[in-house]
């Protein structure tokens, strides 16, 4: 009845592990580590100094000579805007519609990009992927969309589709999908696989496993990243206005190109953008803390 197959015997303890040799070996290792970090630090400083000298010699006017001029343009703008300061509240109202356009472009592309990012992230995460062999493909897709700057895609699309908010939206969505996808995937990688395994054991499909097993775990972190991305996308959307995608960036470009005479508009637009970013930052920060803290409260 009983048929024993003897496996390997119990592990033998390492022989003669005397404390003297181990402590000497450890001290030797510490010395070696210190030497290595000293060499790396020296190398780093040498590289930095050499790099700065090269940059200085290549600079057309010289970095130090040009330094005082940096403040010339802003002081010109601000002094003119100060003279016409009574115009600024009126200009705020005038530029509000284009600000709305900019924020709308950012919002729509954050939503579309975020949704794509979620899908790509789950497909590219080890242990969760629908097709484990294709994870490198989805990873490279995210790398690719992330590595092309929005402005390059937007310029190409404006050339094809003509100016307007749609090229900007597509460009920002693509970049968002890649950038957020990477962050989402990192969060999903740390998700607990036990619930997923439990759902697998009842015969749930991939979508069901992700929706019920992974999304509830990663939702607070994902939303937090999404809000951060929204803020970044507002800036990106404003910049894309410069190349002809409409919105407040376009107005800024017109005002700046005019040169002296329209600097009150430049200041009004800058203030408007600045205030918008602050408001978004405050609001998203509030919600992000609530997401994290609310989570803690439920757990306690």
């Amino acid at each position: 009845m009983v048929d024993i197959a003897y496996g390997p015997g119990p592990d033998r303890k390492p022989e003669g592990g005397s404390t003297i040799t181990t402590s000497e070996a450890y001290l030797e290792m510490v010395r070696r580590r210190r030497l290595y970090s000293g060499i790396i630090l020296a190398l780093f400083i040498a590289l930095m100094v050499a790099g700065f000298q090269l940059a200085q010699s290549r600079n057309a006017g010289g970095f130090l000579n040009g330094l005082p001029q940096i403040f010339a343009f802003p002081s010109e703008v601000i002094s003119e805007a100060w003279e016409k300061r009574t115009n600024i509240p009126g200009l705020f109202l005038q530029f509000l519609p284009s600000l709305m356009e900019t924020v709308n472009i950012a919002a729509v592309s954050t939503l579309i990009g975020g949704f794509t990012a979620a899908l790509l992230a789950l497909l590219a995460t080890r242990g969760l992927a629908r097709w484990p062999r294709l994870t490198p493909l989805f990873r490279r897709m995210m790398d690719l969309t992330r590595s092309i700057p929005e402005i390059v895609i937007a310029l190409m699309l404006i050339f094809i589709l003509g100016g307007g908010p749609v090229p900007a939206m597509i460009a920002i969505s693509l970049h968002t999908a890649g950038a957020l996808g990477k962050l989402f995937s990192e969060v999903a990688e740390n998700a607990d696989v036990k619930p997923v395994e439990g759902l697998t054991s009842v015969g749930a499909s991939w979508l069901q496993r992700m929706w019920l097993g992974v999304i509830p775990q990663v939702a607070p972190n994902w939303l937090s990243y999404l809000m951060l991305r929204f803020e970044i996308n507002v800036r990106a959307s404003a910049i894309l206005g410069f190349v002809g995608s409409g919105g407040i960036g376009y107005d800024l470009k017109l005002a700046m190109q005019w040169g002296a005479g329209k600097y009150d508009q430049v200041v009004a637009i800058f203030l408007l953008l600045f205030l918008t970013i602050i408001v978004i930052d405050q609001v998203t920060d509030h919600f992000r803390t609530r997401l994290v803290k609310g989570d803690r409260k439920a757990r306690a």
């Binding site: 024993i4 036990k194 759902l199 697998t200 009842v202 979508l207 069901q208 097993g213 439920a298």
Partner: protein
């Protein structure tokens, strides 16, 4: 009913499960014992198709379940429930939802996405929770429950699947003795009352003796013992665990002793 034919699983160079064969005819309560790394978990996970086998067949009513793929494999998983050591519930969802997850295999993705469950299914889930004595926990988040309660939720999810076979992978290894007994009694009741086959990996011999109709001992991936609980002598146990004469199962036993001398002396110290 269940026929296991030379099932093998190889990880790298090492065979975690090595040519395992046995047959189970009726819906019995089968315990698998063996030390850590003996291949018990790997075997159960292959049976539930969480892991693919390297070779071999598991025939259930004549059908080789190891050869099933995709949709059919998932349909088999829904008929072969699994209970885990760490419960493997969705911690942020309420208890009733976790029980309803047992019928996910019959739900479309769209129904799942919008969390639509029929009234009948919800009532069935609540009835199962009632049977296991935890109906009042239904609206709570699974993570808010104690370990013993969570394991009962996991059993409720398994029952919701209406399975022929229930696999239990160390179901009481992370529970205290009281909760362990409740969980094992529940599994036994399901086995006897519903006539569902239960295969449980256990690591305490007294539990195996008390609840199982049949015990299979595994060592280094192979079946080294297959018999009734009363054939499980200390000598046999030493062979299964690869232990020498110092092995004493009372040392790690979680059984609550029958004699009350300890209680008496504790009471005496309090009274004096």
């Amino acid at each position: 009913m269940l026929e296991v034919k030379s099932v093998t699983r190889i990880f790298g160079q090492k065979a975690a499960v090595d040519n395992v064969s046995f047959t189970i005819d009726g819906p019995g309560f089968v315990g698998i014992i063996g030390r850590s790394g003996a291949g018990k978990s790997t075997f159960l996970r292959m049976m539930n198709r969480l892991l693919d086998a390297s070779s071999g067949e598991i025939r259930v009513e004549g059908r080789n379940v190891l050869a099933l793929k995709g949709r059919e494999a998932r349909a088999w998983q829904s008929q072969c429930a699994m209970i885990f050591q760490q419960f493997n519930l969705v911690p942020r969802m309420d208890v009733a939802s976790n029980v309803l997850h047992g019928i996910l295999n019959r739900r479309s993705s769209l129904q799942t996405l919008f969390n639509i469950w029929s009234k009948d299914d919800i009532l069935k889930a609540l009835a199962i929770l009632d049977r296991l004595g935890i109906q009042e926990q239904a609206p709570k988040r699974a993570e808010a429950l104690s370990g013993g309660q969570q394991q009962r939720v996991a059993i409720a999810r398994a029952l919701m699947q209406d399975p022929k076979i229930i696999l239990a992978d160390e179901p009481i290894a992370s529970l205290d003795p009281m909760n362990a007994q409740v969980v094992m009694d529940t599994l036994k009741a399901i086995n006897v009352e519903d006539g569902r086959m239960v295969i449980a990996n256990l690591h305490t011999l007294d539990t195996a003796r008390r609840y199982c109709d049949r015990v299979i001992g595994m060592r280094d991936g192979r079946v080294v013992f297959d018999g009734t609980p009363d054939q499980l002598s200390t000598g046999v146990a030493r062979d299964i665990y690869g232990a020498d004469e110092t092995f004493n199962e009372a040392a790690t036993s979680t059984a609550i002793p029958a004699d009350a001398t300890a209680d008496r002396s504790y009471a005496d110290t309090l009274m004096s």
